[in-house]
């Protein structure tokens, strides 16, 4: 007490010198500015994409959005062609990634010894770290000739099936890691109770752990779907270009993302003011909205899974 009054009398604040206080304030402001800048980035994304997409819609006749296929340079912007392409590629990808990813997760979480887990998880992460353009090359030069065309001889060199399979391969690690987290979060007591009742390992895994982790598993599938919808380079390399509307996965085709890359890298440079150029932003807007809805939904499930225990 005597010291404090002495300090106050001498005009010395316990907070330190004014210089130290100023430094504290500046550091805080800089950090706060960085955090707020992330909001500015989002605002920029929404603003640029939305403004140019609206501009695009006002420039074209709305009937141009329906046609025989996606031919932006001829002024035919049949969005359904790309939505169908996206649906085909994403469905094939998830038909592969969901069972393979979930089975891997069950093995790593319920069966693997700690040593196996320590070896296998990094390998899955390496698979996740392969650039997607490399998987596109793999789909074009291995999956198509050695697998898809062996099964279906009528498949074209560029086809959506091979692209879908490669996107699925890329999505396996995401499904596996998110659902494995969910299964590992299930309390050990539930497993012990199950074994105590005489249940076998398979019964415990499938009828106790799996249902208990279902929120996290649903989240994994939704987030992987969103990732597959947004996957670009695999499709751009392996599926060719979107043309006439088709439901056949063995045909060449394109997704919203691959159409954007092909537009931007097309041999005839798209000029800055044409409607074809601005269709990029319209596609970007659709993609943004679809993935945002999926991500928010997936996040909600992740949070539910966390609250469960």
């Amino acid at each position: 007490m005597a010291h404090a009054t002495a300090a106050a009398a001498a005009g010395v604040s316990l907070r330190g010198s004014p210089r130290r206080q100023r430094r504290e304030r500046i550091v805080r402001l800089v950090f706060q500015g960085a955090a707020l800048a992330t909001v500015v980035i989002s605002a920029f994304i929404v603003w640029t994409v939305l403004a140019q997409a609206i501009d695009f819609l006002s420039r074209i006749d709305l009937s141009q959005l329906v046609g025989i296929g996606w031919f932006p340079r001829r002024g035919i912007f049949d969005v359904a062609t790309l939505l169908i392409g996206t649906l085909i590629v994403t469905t094939i990808a998830m038909l592969l990634a969901a069972p393979v990813g979930l089975a891997s997760a069950i093995y790593i979480s319920e069966y693997a010894t700690p040593r196996v887990r320590r070896t296998v998880k990094p390998i899955l992460e390496i698979l996740a770290g392969i650039p997607s353009v490399v998987l596109g090359f793999f789909a074009l030069t291995v999956i198509t000739p050695d697998f898809v065309q062996q099964l279906f001889s009528q498949a074209s060199v560029f086809n959506m099936a091979a692209a879908g399979i490669a996107v699925g391969v890329l999505s396996v690690p995401l499904v596996a890691s998110v659902s494995e987290d969910a299964m590992r979060a299930v309390p050990i007591t539930l497993r012990e109770a199950s074994y105590g009742l005489g249940a076998r390992k398979i019964t415990t895994s499938l009828r106790v752990v799996f249902p208990a982790a279902v929120s996290g598993i649903v989240a994994a599938l939704i987030l992987a779907t969103s990732r597959a919808v947004g996957e670009t380079m695999v499709v751009a390399v392996a599926a060719g270009a979107p043309q006439a509307r088709t439901w056949d996965p063995l045909d060449p085709g394109g997704t919203m993302t691959s159409a954007m890359v092909l537009l931007a890298s097309g041999s005839d440079q798209v000029t800055g003011n044409s409607a074809a150029f601005q269709s990029l932003f319209f596609l970007g807007l659709m993609l943004f909205v679809i993935t945002l809805v999926l991500n928010v939904l997936g996040d909600a499930f992740v949070r539910r899974a966390r609250q469960a225990y």
Partner: protein, 310 residues
């Protein structure tokens, strides 16, 4: 009495029999095979991919050796090399490291060490999570309409330069840097902070001298992973103008002139009809994978080491 004892004995024997007699658990074994098969499928794909790329690339490296690594772009597959791509990818990496890392770590530090749990803080956190899920092509649109336009208006060439590409990639990986840094900061025990405040340190002093050094391995892992992701990205670069251009020979125009990067080269060569370019593409992939997988492996190694010691 004896009947009871006898039936108890019989029951005991039956239970013991049920517990000890080995029965083959057919569905259980099949299930285990199924699980292992799924896991091996992923590993096999990874193995086949690497083996295939190496096989296709080996003639290129055998015939041309280091020439392939230094040669400029060319329309002749037997003369084309990835020299320009390596320079471009290296510059992009430096730009991402210099911008996204400090920015991301500052944001994470603010959210974990400074911010109160207010509505604004929670909004920023949700926003960052959503940014992490935005497809990379959409960042390309941002790069095209913000960074390219900005650098063009500043008079730096036509704006489609390596600075715009680097800025686009930096924004793309920023959410990943922030999220992994937040996790690393959260893992620092509170007792360390309390000890710092206890000896009269200010918030910045505690953060600078105690929390950040303790979180450094985790932060480093996250940033290396983010860098590896950035170097493998193609779509945002293609949208923001990294079509195959060669760097200017004039050093003062390297940053503002045309450019290219390894993944963009892989993309271009994979689409070329000549088979010779397929081999070149495979060789370029080997170089790209060597860079990104090396970064990944370093990050995973760092994390495993860190996890075991803490």
């Amino acid at each position: 009495m004896t009947t009871v004892a006898r039936s108890a004995q019989a029951a005991g024997a039956s239970v013991q029999d049920g517990l000890s007699r080995r029965r083959r658990d057919v569905p259980g074994t099949l299930f285990l095979i199924l699980l292992l098969g799924s896991l091996l499928f992923s590993l096999a794909i990874l193995f086949i991919l690497l083996a295939d790329v190496l096989t296709k690339a080996s003639p290129v490296f055998a015939e041309r050796g280091a020439d392939f690594l230094t040669a400029p772009l060319s329309s002749n597959p037997s003369k084309a090399g990835v020299g320009q791509g390596i320079i471009g990818t290296a510059i992009l990496g430096v730009i991402v490291a210099l911008t996204a890392f400090p920015f991301g770590i500052a944001t994470a530090t603010y959210l974990e060490e400074y911010a109160r749990d207010s509505r604004l803080t929670r909004f920023i956190q949700v926003n960052i999570r959503n940014l992490a899920g935005v497809p990379s092509v959409v960042y390309g649109l941002l790069g095209l309409s913000v960074f390219v336009a900005l650098f063009e208006s500043l008079g730096l060439g036509n704006g489609r330069n390596v600075l715009a590409g680097g800025a686009t990639l930096a924004v793309l990986v920023l959410p990943i840097v922030i999220i992994t840094s937040i996790e690393a900061l959260r893992a620092v025990p509170n007792s360390i902070r309390e000890a710092g405040y206890g000896v009269g340190a200010s918030r910045w002093e505690v953060t600078r001298h105690l929390v950040l050094p303790a979180a450094a391995p985790g932060v480093l892992t996250g940033t290396v992973l983010a860098l590896s992701r950035a170097l493998g990205e193609t779509a945002p670069l293609v949208l923001a103008g990294a079509v195959l251009g060669s760097f200017s020979a004039d050093v003062s125009k390297v940053l503002t002139g045309s450019y290219t990067a390894l993944p963009a080269i892989v993309y271009d060569w994979s689409r070329k009809p000549q088979d010779a370019f397929r081999a070149d593409a495979a060789a370029a992939i080997v170089v790209l994978l060597a860079i990104t997988l090396l970064a990944n492996a370093i990050a995973i190694y760092l994390r495993n080491r860190y996890e075991r010691t803490s």
